[in-house]
């Protein structure tokens, strides 16, 4: 593999300028190098943005947490600020392997925009905002609008993600995250389900669901979320919504599993939420 030259920008403005000239941002490289090696991308040069102070750091803000785009999964997992976001930690802890979690970043995971992106699932659940810097202006948009399709985002030429702002969910949310596949580590999910569920008097008060690997993007099945309200978290009650969830997803068949299986498992994973009732 002939690696393109890697350029280290002086500061954020320089990084934006270099990106505008066609340079490809690089942080952990755990997605980018795979793509370069396959010849899927041939950028003229790479811009290493991993050490720009504006893209680093994890801190609490009013009502939320702001995570620099270049923060690694390990940094996020161990930052005190994310203790209030157990769903984020649950999901990030399943990414790849220790080595990958040390190199890979949440910003990279978001821009990679994979339907199987484990970092995206909690961001969808929490309603995260993506903060973007560009040559002209800064802008901020919800993650659901940022991700357009597999590998496609709303980033304009010359734009970088600076950070992600994650609002804290209301107190009392039960977090759930599960990834299905053939083995435990270094696994791209065949299907995944993340959830935040608030329970009151034995019934669901609010539920948020996000599914990975079963549609072109991570998916929030809002009708099923609404239909959950008022139900107890029992297998029987959840089973009534299984078909609704199976029909909400739009999976494909690939090497890892058939569309049919993904559809069925999406529905079945819902039953697993019954485990939240006890926990």
């Amino acid at each position: 593999m002939d690696l393109p030259e890697i350029v280290r920008p002086r500061d954020l403005a320089d990084a934006v300028r270099l990106t505008g000239e066609g340079g490809k941002p690089l942080v952990g490289g755990t997605d980018l190098f795979v793509r370069l090696r396959k010849g899927a991308e041939r950028p003229p040069f790479l811009v290493y943005v991993g050490e720009l102070p504006e893209l680093r750091g994890i801190h609490e803000t009013e009502g939320g947490v702001e995570i620099g785009a270049a923060a690694t999964h390990v940094e996020i997992l161990s930052a005190p600020a994310t203790a209030q976001l157990p769903i984020l930690r649950l999901a990030l802890a399943t990414i790849g392997s220790p080595a990958l979690r040390h190199m890979g970043t949440l910003g990279g995971n978001v821009v990679n925009a994979s339907p199987a992106g484990d970092g995206l699932v909690p961001l969808y659940l929490l309603g995260a905002q993506v903060n973007v810097v560009g040559p002209a202006r800064e802008r901020s948009l919800p993650v659901e609008e940022f991700v357009l399709g597999p590998g496609r985002t709303a980033l304009q030429p010359g734009e970088l993600i600076r950070s992600l702002t994650i609002p804290l969910p209301r107190d009392g949310a039960h977090p759930y995250f599960r990834k299905v596949g053939r083995r435990q580590a270094l696994l791209i999910a065949v299907a995944s389900l993340g959830a935040l569920v608030w329970v009151e008097d034995g019934a669901v008060r609010e539920a948020r669901l996000a599914l990975g690997s079963v549609a072109p993007t991570v998916l929030r099945p809002r009708e099923v979320e609404r239909a959950l309200v008022g139900r107890p978290l029992t297998v029987e009650a959840l089973a009534e919504l299984r078909d609704a969830l199976s029909s909400a997803v739009r999976p494909i068949s690939d090497l890892r599993a058939s569309a049919d299986y993904r559809r069925r498992v999406s529905g079945n994973l819902l039953l697993d939420l019954s485990s939240l009732a006890s926990g």
């Binding site: 299905v180 696994l187 599993a257 058939s258 498992v265």
Partner: protein, 773 residues
């Protein structure tokens, strides 16, 4: 000889591996770690088509690439039919391969090879070779291969040893004993299972690699990552047309084999490129090439039918095998034979046995030797069928095995009828601790209390399963190993063996076997293995042969040297040799109490009186192949919602006779079980409708990771094999035979679904469960 009669005991101790410290320090050189100045890089042009005739090869543009030094293809390389399988003589695999053919038979087949100054130049040259193909219809399953009117994959006139080329049958075996069909029809209780195993990978850490270069005398040195250095020498000589006396094969440190390196793949190409250019040539497969162009397990469909009396005595046993050997027949006949020969004797009581099988060509990657060597495929079907039979009989599966397995002093007609592609050798079982293995294994897993309980934990349901297996120790009438043991002037020893340590620890075990006989610590025996210029012959590291076959050769050489030492000491002490004993590095007279140290003896023989080299070479040809036995027990949890199967615990209790190095033996069991769990739960090569492998690499082909490894409890249950060195039998393969059936049976115990197609992916398990209410 009983072990207890020896003092000092190197055998039975988990001594430090002789090469352990240097390996930890990263010192030993693996094949490619040697930098031979002026080396060229060799690379291979693979076929993009599954089945095609080569109309023309145009290398003119490739030759213009700066740095290109040689290009080989069918037009400039002599045509010599051979087999890539590294086996004994006469070679049992068909001669259906030539170095470069006018036809390609799978995606990845060898079309041409290049040697160039740099990797880039080699890649550039490959890209510029223009090949015109005439496409032929590809055959992508054994069923298609056998269909009437199917295209013929091996239509070349000069192939030899193919069973029926015009019907794409590489090899066939049919062994009827008694009348199994009639006995099955009349049996009060019958059970049947058909199980399928797909293409899978050995997944060695080190890929196949080689350096071919010339020594000072202009002889060709082939330094290669191989399990069979002596077969490499013989085959390379024949294929490239060089006097074998002008070839030296060196096996350095090896990063794993599991059978994939019992195969001569890159060596003749590198040798020919070196001969053409007069330059050293380095070659290595990329991981993708290892997947498609080296070797795989033989995918198989095996049907077993069992007939039994009401009290569970097996009366009839039928096994029918359809094996996919891929584009060439490497190990086609022998792996097929072993499906029956290593499984059916386990239940030797049935008077009616029928083993029938065919190995069929397809336009898919070439299968070859893989740990278990057919037995793994056979046991999957046999042990699932036994589980079904137990259920029908209302008998505990452990009890059903107990009523039928082979005991000490017994034989099976199969031993004699099925050998390595020819008749086998009659033998009786002289050691068997399967009873203990079953008892200990069942107790450890909690068989009585936990089986059939279907304990639930949310969507997870727990179940237990078990299986039994045996294997062999070497190949009777084929395997021969030799060892040379030399006593140095300081009283230490040099042991030269053709046996091939590929990371298994055999260098250590062979040193232990010698040290035990010589009454010295293991570190007084320096081992040098596998160099065809310096070590005596050995058929190689395969068929679970090294400890038993090579070990016996070492023991013989050691007894001979021991006798010579006692003779020298007797002369020096003026006593009879029979009055002397050798222990802890000292020869002592029982009569007078006088003694001499080994270093005094070495010094005396070398320099002082009646000077001579104390040394011996001994060989051992394998007269019988004592089977190791194992009982496997596992607990699984099955998620009814997703079909995910988790192996919670795996217990394997195995009888390998006396374990020379218990920790190494346990390691073999643990590794084999984990590899078997990979077969059961995740491993499968997938192909496009045009025969291209879709997951040729570890990104998409998953082997179990450390997080997937359950607690594997490996228990060695001792027996004593009277024909083995210090009572030892083999251990390297038997462990891989259990996981497929034991896990399948456990899934059945948990959720009532019979998984008969490996791997048991979440999708397949979920499908087998049907709709849950």
């Amino acid at each position: 000889m009983a072990v207890e009669t020896q003092q000092g005991g190197a055998v039975g101790q988990s001594v430090r591996k002789v090469d352990g410290p240097s390996l930890v320090a990263g010192k030993p050189l693996f094949t490619l770690d040697l930098d031979i100045p002026g080396s060229l890089v060799g690379a291979i042009l693979p076929s993009p088509h599954a089945h095609a005739r080569i109309v023309s090869v145009d290398t003119s543009a490739a030759e213009q690439v700066p740095g290109v030094r040689a290009i080989l293809h069918h037009g400039n390389v002599p045509r010599v039919p051979y087999t890539t399988a590294g086996q004994g003589w006469p070679e049992p695999s068909p001669y259906d391969t030539v170095l470069f053919d006018t036809k390609v038979r799978f995606v990845g087949d060898r079309v041409a090879a290049v040697a160039a100054e740099t990797e880039d130049a080699a890649a550039e040259a490959l890209a510029r070779i223009r090949v015109e193909y005439e496409l032929l219809p590809p055959i992508l399953s054994p069923e298609e291969a056998l269909a009437p009117g199917a295209p013929i994959i091996h239509d070349e006139p000069d192939a030899e040893g193919i069973y029926d080329a015009s019907h794409n049958i590489a090899a066939a075996v049919d062994i009827p004993i008694g009348d199994a069909a009639a006995a099955l029809a009349a049996a009060p209780v019958t059970a049947e299972a058909t199980c399928e195993i797909p293409y899978s990978q050995h997944a060695t850490i080190e890929p196949h690699c080689v350096i071919a270069y010339f020594d000072d005398a202009g002889r060709l040195v082939v330094r290669t990552s191989t399990q069979v250095p002596f077969h490499v020498r013989r085959i390379v000589a024949r294929v490239v047309g060089l006097d074998p006396a002008r070839i030296r094969v060196v096996k350095p440190r090896i990063g794993g084999g599991f059978g994939s390196k019992q195969e001569v793949l890159l060596e003749p190409v590198a040798a020919l490129l070196a001969l053409r250019t007069g330059r050293p040539v380095r070659m290595a497969y990329t991981r993708q090439e290892v997947f498609v162009a080296s070797r795989t397990r033989h995918p198989m469909k095996v049907t077993v039918r069992l007939g039994a009396t009401k009290d569970g005595a097996l009366h009839a046993l039928e096994m029918d095998v359809l094996s996919n050997t891929g584009a060439y027949g490497a190990h086609a006949l022998t792996v097929l034979s072993n499906v029956g020969s290593k499984t059916l004797p386990l239940y030797n009581k049935a008077p009616h046995v029928h083993f029938h099988g065919r190995a069929v060509y397809t336009n898919l990657p070439v299968a070859g030797a893989y740990r278990g060597y057919g037995a793994t495929q056979g046991y999957f079907a046999l042990e699932v069928a036994m589980d079904k039979l137990a259920e029908k009989l209302g008998l505990d599966p452990v009890e059903l095995r107990r009523r039928n397995y082979i005991r000490v002093g017994e034989t099976s007609p199969i031993f004699e009828k099925i050998g390595e592609g020819r008749e086998g050798t009659a033998q009786i079982v002289r050691s068997c601790a399967l009873e203990e293995c079953l008892r200990i294994g069942a107790e450890r897993i909690g068989w009585r209390e936990k089986r059939g309980q279907r304990r639930e934990e949310g969507p997870w349901v727990h179940g237990l399963g078990m299986a039994c297996a045996m294997q062999g120790s070497g190949i009777t009438g084929v395997d021969m190993a030799a060892a040379t043991l030399v006593m140095q002037d300081d009283g230490s020893f040099r042991l030269l063996v053709g046996a091939t340590d590929l990371g298994t620890g055999s260098d250590t075990i062979l040193a232990q076997i010698a040290a035990q006989e010589l009454g010295v610590p293991v570190d007084r025996v320096l081992v040098y293995s596998s160099d065809t210029d310096f070590t005596p012959f050995d058929t190689g590291a395969y068929a679970s042969s090294t400890t038993y076959v090579s070990g016996n050769a070492v023991l013989r050489a050691a007894s001979d040297v021991r006798a010579q030492i006692l003779d020298v000491a007797a002369a020096a002490l003026g006593e009879r040799a029979s009055a002397l004993e050798l222990a802890a590095g000292v020869v002592r007279s029982r009569k007078s109490g006088k003694s001499l140290t080994l270093s005094e003896i070495g010094h005396r023989a070398t320099y002082v009186t009646d000077q001579r080299q104390i040394a011996a070479t001994a060989s051992f040809a394998c007269p019988e192949s004592p089977p190791p036995f194992a009982a496997f027990f596992c607990e699984v949890a099955v998620d009814r919602e997703t079909g995910v199967v988790r192996v919670e615990r795996f217990v394997v209790a195995a009888d390998c006779g006396v374990a020379i190095h218990p920790q190494a033996a346990e390691g073999q069991l643990e590794g084999a079980v984990l590899q078997g769990i990979g077969h059961a739960l995740c491993e499968e090569m997938l192909f496009s409708p045009r025969g291209r492998c879709l997951n040729a690499g570890f990104f998409d082909y998953k082997i179990p990771s450390s997080l997937d490894a359950p607690a594997i409890e490996a228990i060695l249950v001792p027996s004593e094999e009277p024909t083995g060195p210090w009572g030892a039998k083999s251990i390297s393969e038997v462990g891989i035979n259990g996981p497929l059936p034991a896990i399948s049976n456990a899934i059945y115990d948990a959720v009532g679904a019979r998984m008969v197609r490996a791997p048991f992916t979440p999708e397949r398990v979920r499908f087998a469960l049907g709709v849950i209410p």
